[in-house]
């Protein structure tokens, strides 16, 4: 697999390739449309972006904040230019009745939730669902926004980065693919330290030896930990199709 740095308008390759993510084909040439790392793989050419706001995609796991509700759905801020909707039927079931059921019993304004994007196309706002394991209300924690393009770096190769942070600070970190992170834990110092580490990952995502410097910040002895980490609700799980891409992305960043 060939990789290189590109900016918009750069020619990545020429020939019979399929344009995948952030690539357009004009004539015989494949052109990058974003700043990032271009990858020529077996199935086509793609660019892993290094900047940009979050654009929802179907099946993304996101963390959102309830900002309003109507009689039929909640409106959720998912850190994007579109606000998402969580239909009340998704929570109460098919026989939901606005007259009988009290929506505020489940989610009030200001509550944070983890949800999956059920449907999203160009014509309508994204639709959410909480009907899955580990989805729903987040009872407590400190939330923080990072750039959505930094999420794979924060998770690390097979979850290594986030594992390091969680273990060293005795916290649980939920990461939404929209860049909202919620940190929970018993000790306030641990939460504070975890937030500091996450901010550092965001700011220095593209630099080399970041894991080393995070370990120094967190006072972790430099020994490779082999303990497998149980998937946390909200954080993408290894079996998800999305995480495959995430891991590929991480391998790229690991090279630098």
């Amino acid at each position: 697999m060939k990789r290189r740095y590109v900016i918009p308008g750069d020619k990545i390759a020429e020939g019979n390739f399929r344009p995948l993510m952030n690539v357009i084909k004009t004539g015989n040439a494949l052109i990058a449309t974003r700043i990032g790392i271009a990858e020529i793989g077996r199935d086509g050419v793609k660019v892993i972006p290094l900047s940009g706001v979050y654009i929802p995609r179907v099946n993304d796991l996101v963390i959102g904040k309830i900002i309003d509700h109507s009689s039929l759905s909640w409106e959720v801020d998912i850190n994007s230019c579109f606000s998402a909707h969580l239909p009340a039927q998704d929570v109460f079931g098919r026989d939901f009745s606005p007259a009988r059921d009290d929506m505020t019993r489940h989610f009030g304004i200001g509550d944070m939730i983890t949800a999956r994007i059920m449907a999203f196309d160009r014509t309508r706002d994204p639709m959410l669902t909480v009907q899955d394991r580990d989805l729903g209300k987040i009872p407590r924690g400190e939330s923080l926004k990072i750039s959505a393009t930094r999420v794979p770096r924060l998770i690390g190769k097979r979850g290594s980065m986030i594992q390091t942070i969680e273990q060293a600070t005795q916290t649980r970190v939920l990461i939404g693919q929209n860049g909202i992170v919620v940190v929970t834990g018993r000790a306030p110092e641990g939460i504070k330290l975890a937030l500091k580490a996450i901010k550092m990952v965001e700011e220095e995502a593209h630099t080399a030896n970041l894991t080393q410097r995070i370990k120094v910040l967190l006072n972790v002895p430099d020994a490779p930990s082999e303990t497998s980490r149980a998937p946390v609700g909200g954080a993408p799980k290894p079996e998800d199709s999305t995480i495959d891409e995430v891991e590929e992305e991480l391998e790229v960043e690991g090279e630098k």
Partner: protein, 247 residues
């Protein structure tokens, strides 16, 4: 426009000591506005211009939103202290016009259909002006758009050319703009080889027009290299090639 004094001396040097084919010194810094999604600061000779991009974000007022594409909104503004005598901060006729041509110069490079029902806001603030600020503004805005991670077909590079002492010169400065014969700002998509802005103030013969356009496009290509370098530096440091790893 009538010229009152010689703007090119016996040695072929212009008022600021440049030769006729020389660009002013251009410096671009990416990511200068912390709260913006993308930003750039350009020093184009004595021009000092800040460009900030926000978006794609929700459109307000909602009725401006378009169902099939993103709305691009541009604001070119000159600070009151950017000129010799204080400039009224209210948007002038000239600023409204430049905002419009700037939007039209940037639009062909952007893939606005990727973000339906959203808006991208571009703010260009001139902190110090020295002629050619619309070109410098477009150049900076294009870098800021790339920094904001908006899908683009190409970067937009802009540069002016003009006529001074009956000679076609590259990159007109403030004195040459005011006292020279003609000023032609051009914005160009270097990869697609398309012109997205072409204005002309002054008189040129058809021959001079072609020469002037070619010179301006040549200038755009030089500016494009500087844009590329600035973006590469911000994102990849001094490395230009990714080290290959055997897998």
């Amino acid at each position: 426009m009538t010229q009152t004094r010689n703007l090119i001396d016996a040695n072929g040097k212009r008022t600021d000591g440049r030769s006729i084919d020389e660009l002013r010194e251009v410096k671009i810094t990416v990511g200068t506005v912390k709260n913006a999604d993308g930003s750039a600061f350009i020093e184009f000779g004595k021009n000092k211009i800040l460009a900030a991009v926000y978006g794609p974000r929700e459109v307000h007022p909602k009725h401006m939103a378009q169902s099939d594409r993103c709305v691009l909104r541009c604001r070119y503004h000159m600070s009151p202290f950017s000129t010799d005598t204080r400039k009224n901060p209210a948007p002038s006729r000239r600023e409204i016009e430049i905002s419009k041509v700037m939007r039209e110069a940037l639009e062909p490079a952007l893939m606005l259909e990727d973000y339906p029902r959203a808006a991208i806001d571009v703010f260009v603030e001139v902190l110090q002006s020295d002629g050619g600020s619309r070109c410098a503004g477009i150049t900076a805005a294009s870098v800021a758009l790339a920094d904001a991670g908006i899908n683009m077909r190409d970067l937009v590079a802009a540069c002016a050319a003009g006529k001074v002492d009956e000679k076609i010169v590259l990159d007109i400065n403030d004195t040459e703009d005011k006292e020279g014969g003609a000023d032609m700002p051009v914005a160009y998509l270097p990869r697609l080889e398309q012109v997205t802005l072409l204005q002309l103030d002054g008189n040129l013969t058809p021959g001079q027009f072609n020469e002037c356009l070619d010179k301006a496009i040549g200038g755009c290509k030089m500016v494009y290299e500087i844009q590329k370098q600035a973006l590469m530096k911000k994102y990849f440091g001094n490395e230009t090639e990714l080290k290959e790893e055997v897998q």
